[in-house]
């Protein structure tokens, strides 16, 4: 899921200082799990804004805020409230914010969150980055542990000299990704994989902006 964190409220108030009537859009997916854009957070934001003298014309949690057409359909029920809105706050990720930008061409839209990374939830409201969306997966060669993400240098050919008792030199709280990969490959009988020299990565697979048309039988990534 996309991990989000609430932005500084002072910064947000500065963003919307010229607007009076605010509409809030959350998301029932990632932002709800992150505690940044579910019902309770929207309610709390409504109270904060009202304390600051703003009028909240309405609020709603989109089912999937990055789904543009679905969100458009859901928003039809809020037509009247939106008609008296001069600013929309989106309480999900950067993608959700830009759904609103596309749907409301003449209205200002601001994000209430910073979008951090694609993460796994390890415990309730605790998240770890496991995948960097690099465009060309290397997990088949690394025992399923991603060094592009888990190694601060993104090394592809084994650990640097900074491994210290199996920890990363960046932080003693962090396991060395390559020690983990080594141990994992050893356990599953694939240590031979680590002896192969990994070619330089094709970073053009991660060039932005990307789009994908998955409709056709043959997948096609356009850049």
């Amino acid at each position: 899921m996309i991990i989000t964190k609430k932005r500084d409220i002072k910064e947000l108030m500065e963003n919307i200082k010229n607007y009076k009537s605010i509409f809030l859009i959350g998301c029932s997916e990632c932002a709800t799990l992150c505690g940044t854009g579910g019902e309770p957070e929207l309610q709390a934001m409504k109270e904060t804004l009202e304390t600051e003298g703003k009028k909240v014309t309405g609020s709603f949690v989109a089912k999937t805020g990055c789904q543009i057409l679905g969100t458009k359909v859901e928003l039809k029920a809020f037509k009247d409230a939106l008609a008296e809105t001069d600013c929309i706050l989106v309480m999900s990720c950067g993608a959700g914010t830009q759904t609103a930008v596309e749907l409301f061409r003449d209205t200002a839209v601001y994000p209430t969150n910073d979008s951090l990374f694609l993460g796994n939830m390890t415990r309730i409201q605790m998240f770890d980055q496991r995948c960097s969306l690099c465009g060309k997966c290397v997990l088949d060669k690394t025992g399923g542990i991603c060094p592009v993400t888990a190694c601060p240098k993104g090394l592809l050919n084994g650990p640097c000299g900074g491994t210290n008792e199996g920890k990363c030199e960046i932080s003693p709280d962090m396991e060395c990704a390559w020690v983990r990969i080594y141990n994992r490959l050893k356990r599953i009988g694939q240590l031979e994989e680590m002896k192969k020299i990994a070619e330089p990565k094709d970073w053009s697979a991660a060039n932005t902006p990307m789009s994908l048309n998955a409709r056709e039988k043959k997948e096609e990534v356009k850049k």
Binding site: K153, P159, G161, G162, N164, I197
Partner: protein, 293 residues
């Protein structure tokens, strides 16, 4: 005899390190370099060591070359992408620099520009292959070049990494990728280093043992705590302590000299790489006490 020839001869090779300063005043560095002239087989020039921004390695290599030194260009992958690295390698080649040490590079987290965007487009093993490719007249994408480089390329290894197995697997990849020589992370336990050398001798590469000059017991304790892959044994720390405050550096010089002497007399490795870290002027004294001058 150049560095490559020295390594391929029976000679016990000695290299040391010069760290470019931050800022344009290079008087002190030149003074240290002058004192090392004629004593070393080659001199490494660090590349924004510890991710602290300084003069680039390439410029100082050229200055040292003009002084009569044989420089080893240290190249890390932290600050340049594959275009920048290859371009600088071609530049180094036309400036007459022949030796290059390929490294991944310390993470910016260690340095004085922590907010930078680290590059790491490629890394040490891949950089070794890039050098090999340039030596064969092609860039890393296989494009033919007008004129090839003629680099003698090396790499680094940490014999006391913990755990050591994955580190040794990487060492073997570096050998396969074209490393001709290795300069090791600092070693202090000669017995343990001999075990590493028994293993390393199986490969057709030259090994220079890394020696960091100990300046005090505090420094040794600090490195044990904070520098991965460096383990100063307690008896050496006691030796520095026993020397007392004013004489610790002298004791450190003795330790380094003693280790060099032992490595040479027992033919443990092909030479040493002395890292004096700020006390470059003491390198000739270490060599003298080791019986090398």
């Amino acid at each position: 005899m150049n560095f490559k020839e020295a390594l391929n001869s029976e000679k016990f090779v000695v290299t040391a390190e010069v760290g470019p300063p931050k800022g344009t005043d290079i008087k002190e560095m030149l003074h240290d370099a002058e004192a090392l002239k004629g004593k070393l087989d080659a001199v490494n020039v660090t590349d924004n060591q510890s991710a602290v921004m300084r003069i680039n390695s390439l410029s100082i290599c050229k200055i040292l070359l003009d002084m009569g030194h044989e420089p080893i260009l240290q190249m890390t992958c932290r600050d340049r992408n594959r275009i920048g690295l290859q371009s600088d390698l071609l530049g180094a080649s036309v400036l007459g620099i022949r030796n290059v040490l390929c490294m991944t590079g310390d993470h910016p987290n260690a340095g004085d520009h922590k907010e930078t965007k680290a590059v790491y487009d490629i890394e040490s093993v891949q950089l070794l292959r890039v050098v090999d490719s340039l030596n064969n007249g092609r860039d890393m994408m296989g494009n033919e070049m007008k004129g090839a480089t003629d680099f003698f390329q090396g790499a680094v290894v940490t014999p006391e990494a913990d755990p050591v197995e994955p580190q040794l697997m990487k060492f073997e990849k570096k050998v396969a990728a074209g490393a001709n020589f290795f300069q090791t992370q600092a070693i202090y336990d000669i017995g343990k280093f001999k075990e590493f050398m028994t293993y390393a001798r199986k490969f057709p590469v030259k090994i220079l043992a890394g020696l960091v000059l100990l300046k005090s017991a505090g420094m040794a304790n600090y490195m044990n705590k904070f520098v991965p892959g460096i383990k100063v044994p307690q008896d050496l720390i006691d030796e520095l302590k026993a020397a007392g405050k004013g004489n610790a550096l002298d004791a450190g010089i003795n330790i380094a000299a003693r280790h060099i002497k032992q490595l040479k007399e027992e033919d443990v490795c092909d030479g040493v790489h002395i890292m004096a870290i700020g006390a470059e002027d003491k390198v000739p004294l270490i060599m003298e006490r080791a019986g090398l001058l």
